[in-house]
């Protein structure tokens, strides 16, 4: 937990809601930490469990998946499935000894630019406290 540790966060954002919300944060010139690199998918329902595991394995300290609020999914129900997948994934992470807080699932709509910024800021602070993810250093 050195001071120079900056969490590397990979975010999966859905085109219609959270990616638009992230864009809105930028359009509104809201400042938030630079730790996020986002991957745009059409729906949060496209985020496979193996993506999250791969991200953590390859060097991410945290993974954020953000989709539409329940009921608002552009494709009706993708976000419900994402929710269940992440619940089950967290059970696996627990068994593997990985802090389940490293995977965060949030609902962010296209008009919630401030919320996006707040979520990122909160996540960065949380990950700073948990410390870096040491998976990439684990013996292969």
């Amino acid at each position: 937990m050195t001071d120079s540790y900056e969490p590397n966060i990979i975010a999966f954002l859905c085109n219609w809601c959270s990616y638009a919300g992230s864009d809105l944060a930028g359009t509104s010139r809201i400042k938030y930490p630079p730790n996020v690199r986002s991957i745009r998918v059409m729906c949060s329902g496209r985020v496979d469990t193996s993506f999250i595991l791969r991200a953590l394995k390859k060097g991410a300290d945290g993974v954020l998946i953000a989709g539409c609020h329940p009921g608002d999914c552009h494709y009706q129900s993708g976000n419900y499935k994402t929710n269940r997948r992440i619940i089950l994934l967290k059970k696996l992470l627990d068994q593997l000894g990985i802090d389940e807080k490293r995977v965060r699932f949030d609902y962010i709509s296209a008009s919630e630019g401030q919320k996006f910024a707040d979520v990122v800021t909160e996540f960065v602070n949380e990950l700073k406290e948990i410390g870096p993810c040491t998976l990439k250093e684990v013996e292969q």
Binding site: D48, I87, L88, L92, G97, I98, I130, Q140
Partner: protein, 329 residues
């Protein structure tokens, strides 16, 4: 050592961290074993014949035509033999789940050497070891020095240790697949290097059960079922079956016996991580019928019925999973 016969392919068999089932599987090819005995020269088979490591060390590189290597790599001895046999073999076949994905021994990756030794040698009800003596790699006795292989923290698959040419999946590999592989070797018709010697499709392709659509409302263990319908997909009856995420070739034998597939055939082609894929798939369809109305608590309760994710989804494949062992943080 028998005389070199130039026409006959030279075989070797080795068992690393394994149960011995794969060796039995070779014998399970019944009368075809005679074909093997007649048409191949077996240079090394510790379980069945009396060869020594130094016999293998003395061979030229690539002397062995095909080496069938089963078992995972978890000690320095096994690692040494994997590297040695790789050097001495033209083609190295990872035989069985343990060699390909780490297998059941791979589940030890939820632990480490210290914990395992403590449980095996010190902290268990049937052992009295007040001096807490555990195996050491080097012990000096009056006659000299005794060595034991080093026991690693992490179980690895064969191809995490050396380059592998072919993969024969299964726990053990089904008879039919073994026969196909051996026939292909004799007829010089092996597919391209790196291939898995099994069908491309998952177990569902060979499973006779009816599949309509998956809307799982409850998870049940096999013993909790009063009646398992032999004609309908087990997943659709709420029993976790890894068939859809597992490579076929086994003829879906377990399903015929009303038991779910536990995934020994390993991942399907292009699958990054067999366990992760099954998690994604199962979570997609569990509770899907009323997903819009279910409360967060109801969803959690339903998913909590899936106990032991590692044991369920990575029973044979933990060492080759994306995250392949328990970590502290």
């Amino acid at each position: 050592m028998s005389k070199e016969k130039k026409d006959k392919p030279k075989f070797a068999f080795y068992w690393a961290a394994s149960c011995g089932g794969c060796e039995i599987a070779v014998l399970d090819i019944d009368e075809k074993i005679l074909d093997v005995a007649n048409n191949a020269e077996i240079l090394f088979w510790p379980v069945a014949m009396d060869f020594k490591y130094k016999d293998v060390e003395a061979m030229k590189d690539n002397y062995i035509d095909v080496c069938f290597f089963n078992g995972a790599i978890r000690t320095s001895e096994q690692e040494y033999l994997a590297k040695l046999l790789r050097k001495k073999s033209k083609a190295l076949v990872a035989f069985g789940s343990c060699a390909i994905n780490g297998g059941i021994p791979g589940l030890a990756n939820v632990s480490n050497k210290k914990e395992i030794f403590e449980t095996a040698y010190i902290d268990n009800p049937s052992t009295e070891n007040p001096d807490k003596i555990v195996p050491k790699t080097n012990s000096k006795v009056k006659e000299g020095s005794l060595t034991l292989p080093e026991f690693y923290d992490t179980v690895k698959s064969l191809d995490q240790t050396v380059k592998v040419d072919y993969y024969l999946p299964g726990c053990p590999p089904p008879t039919k697949l073994i026969i196909n592989a051996i026939t292909a070797i004799f007829e010089n018709k092996l597919p391209e290097n790196g291939s898995v010697l099994a069908p491309l499709k998952s177990v569902c392709d060979e499973c006779a059960r009816e599949k309509t659509e998956k809307k799982i409302t409850d998870i049940k263990r096999v013993y909790e079922m009063e009646n398992i319908d032999p004609k309908i997909c087990l997943l659709e009856q709420g029993i976790i079956c890894l068939g859809p995420a597992t490579r076929g070739g086994c003829g879906a034998l377990c399903l015929d016996a009303n038991m779910p597939c536990t995934g020994c055939g390993g991942p399907t082609p292009n699958s990054l991580d067999q366990g992760a894929k099954m998690i994604s798939a199962l979570a997609s369809v569990i509770g899907i019928e009323h997903e819009e109305e279910m409360s967060e608590q109801e969803i959690n309760d339903l998913i909590d019925k899936i106990i032991d994710p590692i044991g369920t989804f990575y029973k044979y494949g933990l060492p080759t999973a994306i995250i392949n062992r328990r970590v502290k943080k």
